[in-house]
Symmetry: C2
Subunit: 243 residues, 2 copies
């Protein structure tokens, strides 16, 4: 019978292979690496020589694949044309901001640019608070967030009040927030100074509304169903060189 | 200069030692184990023989300590008197439900008993939704949550409405929720069928209110300041035997 660690390793590696097939390479790499680490521990504890040799062979295959992906990502980044596509099906779950782009957030991120024409209404501002929470948590050296969005002409008070509250809260954490209003903005993208560009078809507003205030998934966005949406992740190597 | 992996390993192991000193053993163990894993990788990549030998010696010391803690926890559990105390200072952060007891939640948890006299007002019900989100996420085989709480005499509609909404949402996920009202309840504790008992001095309601709806920490409870509080974690070995 498989022990719990063995199960975890197998589940991580199956996920790695699935993500790999979908060409979601940077996510797949994380699963390969974690899965291989745990599998190596499992192998160390195995007594059955047949099983041990089978698992070792598997681990080597995964290691080779992970190495190959790492090189591929590195090469594409250096050529400035890395591209990863995430398709969110209608009603799919598991796509919180942290799950989608948390792996690109780290202590090396100092500035983040957000272009999203719809940070206007109450729930869109709530999305932005959640976005700020994720970056505050994962980017301890973050110094600046630049937001370009559209002005809410019908109910501007909510927007102005919300944004200035968010700004002053970020300031207390040593993060400056620049806000620019633009009426011609079409793109929805998030740019990290490390060179990653995350383009989300719907911007940050890709979650379905919760059924009620008491719904599982009201707070935890990984449990919230999403609208159909596409996320493209690029790396602009030349951007990274300029920082 | 330390590479990023080395920094991660050192930070995890420093945290392990700090938690170890506070006798927060099960948390400390996780940090030791993750830290040692990463340190082992770092050592493998090192070229400087002096540094390599220094780090290897350190890794062995941490391994010994982790082994010692594992045995200690196992022994105390088997004697039925494992006890871990977490003191939350006034205003401290980093104590979301997931951070505090997420490590006890797993696929082996089938039933959870919650005794908390104050799941009554709007924000207390919100806390309970968040609690349910954490257990839904981490206990994929959960079948039942039993809640014993006090009745809200002043504004009972909010409570009844909130609880029945939560119950029907859990039902859709195959989780039954039993609700019992008790006026004599004093204890605040969460019991997992695996034998763990988490007693929180203030029950689930130990977070300070957010400054505004736009506050960093409105959604992410790890970023929310807490009230001073004490959490005791026990393991009832005999309970585990009965399940």
């Amino acid at each position: 019978m498989a022990d719990p660690e063995e199960k975890v390793a197998i589940s991580l590696l199956s996920r790695a292979v699935a993500l790999d097939k979908q060409q979601r390479f940077t996510e797949s790499l994380i699963c390969y690496e974690e899965g291989i680490q745990i599998l190596t521990q499992v192998i160390r504890g195995l007594k059955d020589p047949k099983k041990k040799s089978h698992f070792s062979q598997k681990a080597n295959e995964y290691l080779d694949r992970a190495e190959h992906i790492k090189n591929h990502v590195h090469l594409e980044k250096s050529k400035g044309n890395y591209h990863e596509k995430i398709r969110i099906e209608d009603g799919a779950k598991g796509f919180s901001y942290q799950s989608v782009f948390g792996r690109f957030l780290s202590e090396s991120v100092l500035t983040i640019d957000v272009e999203d024409p719809y940070i206007r209404t109450f729930h869109q501002l709530q999305n932005f608070v959640r976005f700020c929470e994720v970056v505050c948590r994962l980017c301890p050296n973050l110094k600046k967030i630049s937001l370009i969005t559209g002005k809410d002409s019908s109910n501007g008070d909510v927007q102005i009040n919300g944004l200035s509250n968010i700004r002053s809260d970020l300031e207390e954490r040593g993060i400056t927030m620049d806000i620019t209003f633009s009426e011609t903005l079409h793109d929805r993208e998030i740019r990290l100074d490390a060179g990653w560009i995350i383009k989300i078809g719907r911007g940050l507003d890709y979650f379905k509304p919760p059924k009620s205030k008491w719904a599982i998934g009201y707070y935890d966005l990984d449990l919230r169903p999403c609208h159909e949406s596409t996320i493209d992740i690029y790396h602009r190597n030349n951007l990274a060189k300029n920082t």
